[in-house]
């Protein structure tokens, strides 16, 4: 009976979403207060209904109701309790339901925290979000119903994919989706502004914290995914330029550009049209990302569900959202986009460069990700685009961005003498170069990546500190949460660069066959294999190896890598053993047994690899801190220079 309740809740949510989309939008257009007033209660009702459906599905997993097809496919009576909760979003249907739930949470949050916005604005924003929810719920109900029955019920489920039976996977998808879906708020705002024909600095100021929070969650989600791949896939890599990863990276890049262009538009009134377009692009890329992963059109090192029946729906949905928004933009984009005038030497120009570089990088990733699809459609053969393409292009595009980064905060709006910021930062640039060269000669491998990583990181940190010092040195100038957030996020980039480039430049890795008692030498480390023994896990049989690690003959740690064979599907999983450290990770993964008492062993020494995720966490923190700036909470009409409401062609 319960699954049907979930089903009914979903259908009701679909109807409520339709109501939430249609009535307030028409009401706002025609000026009917009663119709506009429906937006808020509809948003709360939608949240309650989707949450109920999600709760029912979760209960199905916890109570092991194998008469629900989705539960039967993705769980098993041996599955530990905690994974029964997370199995809800372990596969296609459930993760779409999670998406819908998170959208309803964001919608409810917008409804709750928008009390001071004009009624038309909030009606339009919630209406657009309702339309998106309608599309998703329809997709769920008509093509991917999680409550589909399996009659007669089976006695035993097929089990959750062992790769997903992992703590990292518990929080990765929700965080990622919080980010993806969060971009629906600036998107809805952009559409509302286009419908209204006025782009007001106040509303823009109101959306900025939402964008920052969404971007922060997306950063965390991507970092968690990378961390999970690092320890769970057993290859020791942290980023593969894999289509699934690219799908989440594109909205991140577009979102980062959006953060900066929103700041310009809010403060100076410039780049209005561009900000709207970026908001549309960011959310469209989030949708594209969700669907690329879900539709299974891409070949990835990770696996997908593939069901051609869903393809058409996805295509139509994407077509309506992207095509519709762009048509709306073309018809009603602000005609006067100039805002306050600015010189070539100004902070506006630097932020423009930031936006151009970030969006070019995003386009580059998009092209590389979709190129195999295009080639296939045009019958040019089955191809894949290799990581060197992405790595090279990304490096080329990010180098100028990093070079220009510290100049942004110390350059004035509108006009600046070129010599001033240059003189301010030049000594620190020289310092960064010296430290970089020193690092190059101090590390044994002498890789250019070490030079580049350290140079870039020191340049960003001291350049940003120079800005902080300027603010504090001049009495009476406040240091806002927005500035603190920016400083933290920029430090995060520096930390990330150290991690990424030093790991790439200095990592050592070997794959060897070892017998019990034999050692593998790797730089100054030696890994001694002390044998493996079999044991019984809750839903798997494991081989647990013992590896003692020595540094210059002094024992450092004992690691226990594992190989697990899951009883339900016979899948084999590698559980790498890692000794984490501030300046290096020691990483051991077992391959296959090679007969006798010998095993294949993969050992890595990965310097500074933790800094990659540390940097990402700092970036996330930066986004969250920025969102708390008191300025965003103010809604009285304090008009900035050219930030007044602008009439548009319509």
């Amino acid at each position: 009976m319960l699954p049907e309740l979930g089903q009914i809740a979903l259908i009701l949510a679909l109807l409520v979403a339709a109501l939430q989309a249609i009535l307030p939008l028409i009401g706002a257009q025609r000026g009917i207060p009663a119709w506009m007033a429906i937006a808020r209660p509809a948003a709360f009702a939608q949240f309650a209904l989707v949450a109920l459906a999600f709760g029912v599905l979760t209960y199905g997993f916890v109570s092991q109701d194998f008469s629900i097809k989705y539960v039967a496919i993705n769980s098993n009576s041996l599955l530990p309790m905690v994974y029964r909760y997370t199995a809800v979003w372990g596969s296609h249907e459930g993760s779409l339901l999670l998406w819908a739930l998170i959208l309803s949470i964001w919608t409810a949050a917008v409804a709750r925290f928008s009390q001071r916005l004009p009624a038309e604005v909030i009606a339009r924003v919630l209406g657009v979000m309702g339309a998106v929810a309608f599309g998703f719920l329809a997709f769920l109900i008509f093509t991917s119903n999680p409550f589909e029955r399996l009659l007669p019920a089976v006695a035993e489920g097929r089990d959750l994919n062992p790769l997903l039976q992992d703590p990292g996977m518990i929080i990765h998808p929700p965080m990622l989706y919080l980010g993806y879906v969060g971009f629906s708020v600036p998107f809805a705002f952009a559409i509302a502004a286009l419908l209204d024909g006025r782009i007001d600095a106040r509303w823009l100021r109101w959306t900025r914290p939402w964008t920052n929070v969404a971007w922060a969650f997306l950063t965390l989600g991507i970092a968690l995914g990378s961390w999970w791949a690092y320890y769970e896939l057993g290859w020791g890599g942290w980023w593969f330029w894999d289509p699934v990863e690219n799908a989440s990276f594109m909205p991140w890049l577009a979102g980062a550009a959006l953060l900066h262009s929103q700041a310009v538009t809010e403060k100076r009134g410039s780049f209005r049209g561009w900000t709207l377009l970026l908001a549309i692009a960011t959310f469209s890329l989030s949708l594209l990302g969700t669907f690329l992963v879900r539709s299974g059109v891409l070949t990835s090192v990770h696996a997908f569900a593939s069901d051609p029946a869903r393809g058409l729906f996805i295509l139509v949905f994407l077509g309506i959202v992207i095509g519709g928004s762009l048509v709306l933009y073309a018809l009603r984009a602000p005609s006067d986009d100039s805002g306050a005038p600015f010189n070539v030497a100004s902070r506006e120009t630097l932020l423009l460069a930031n936006n151009l570089l970030l969006s070019t990088a995003c386009a580059m990733v998009l092209l590389g990700t979709l190129y195999p699809l295009l080639a296939d459609a045009l019958d040019l053969g089955k191809i894949s685009v290799g990581p060197p393409y992405f790595a090279l292009m990304f490096m080329v595009l990010m180098a100028p961005l990093i070079l220009l980064l510290p100049f942004g905060p110390v350059t004035r709006w509108q006009r600046e003498q070129v010599s001033k910021p240059l003189a301010m930062l030049l000594p620190w640039g020289v310092l960064a170069l010296l430290v970089g060269v020193a690092a190059y000669f101090l590390t044994p491998q002498s890789s250019w990546k070490v030079l580049a990583g350290v140079l870039a990181a020191v340049w960003i940190v001291v350049g940003t500190l120079r800005f902080v010092w300027t603010r504090f040195a001049q009495a009476g100038r406040q240091f806002t949460a927005e500035m603190l957030g920016m400083t933290l996020a920029h430090f995060g980039i520096a930390i990330f660069l150290v991690g990424a480039l030093l790991t790439e430049g200095l990592s050592q890795q070997r794959e060897v066959a070892v017998a019990q008692g034999q050692s593998v030498e790797l730089g100054r480390y030696a890994f001694r294999f002390d044998g493996a023994e079999r044991y019984q896990g809750p839903n798997y049989v494991g081989d647990r190896g013992t590896v003692t690690v020595f540094h210059d003959d002094a024992p450092v740690t004992v690691l226990h890598p594992e190989k697990r064979a899951y009883t339900s599907g016979g899948q084999v999983m590698t559980e790498a053993a890692i000794d984490p450290g501030f300046s290096r990770d020691l990483y051991v993964a077992m391959g296959e047994p090679l007969g006798g008492n010998s095993w294949a062993l993969r050992v890595h020494v990965k310097p500074f690899v933790r800094w990659i995720w540390g940097g990402a966490l700092l970036m996330m923190l930066g986004g969250l801190v920025t969102a708390t700036d008191r300025r965003f909470a103010r809604t009285e009409t304090r008009r900035v220079a050219a930030g007044e409401a602008m009439e548009t062609t319509a």
Binding site: N161, A303, G368
Partner: protein, 157 residues
């Protein structure tokens, strides 16, 4: 031409130039970094042409996997139903590598062997990489073999 127009023209010219350079670089970088997928019969028919490095896709033939005791050098054959190709790979194979399952190996031909530098196996019991399935589907159609439908399966990320 008034200064505003001239300014705009300069901007547009710069943008077009930048876009052109970017497009040229991207095309060049993609062209250098794409790898094509071929099945064993296509390789034997010589369709790989100028692509020295490519991906070989198909199933691991039954009873073809061999590994000398205590060594990481693995030998196996990849089949598409029509033809087989011997493959050599030195290193740890992915967890899901098994006989009679789909693999994609990246590498190059050396003599009549395919020497793989990377081997990817499918991530699920019933799933086959779509591009391999497409190609093998064609082979099967030719031979009138029933293809097992891919059931919807779990996704990893």
């Amino acid at each position: 031409m008034n200064p505003i127009r001239r300014n705009r023209l300069i901007w547009i010219a710069a943008l077009v130039a930048a876009a052109g350079i970017a497009a040229a670089m991207i095309t060049y970088a993609i062209q250098r970094n794409i790898t094509y997928l071929f099945t064993p019969s296509e390789v034997l028919r010589g369709e790989t042409g100028a692509h020295a490095r490519f991906r070989l896709g198909g199933m691991v033939s039954a009873n073809s996997f061999q590994r000398a005791q205590g060594s990481l050098e693995a030998h196996f054959r990849v089949t598409d139903g029509d033809a087989e190709m011997p493959v050599v790979y030195t290193g740890i194979l992915p967890d899901l590598f098994r006989e009679k399952q789909a693999v994609i190996a990246t590498g190059r031909m050396e003599g009549n062997h395919f020497v793989a530098e990377q081997v990817l196996a499918k991530h699920d019991e019933t799933y086959m990489p779509k591009e391999v399935a497409d190609k093998m589907g064609m082979a099967h159609k030719k031979h009138d073999v029933e293809i097992q439908a891919a059931a919807p399966v779990a996704e990893t990320r």
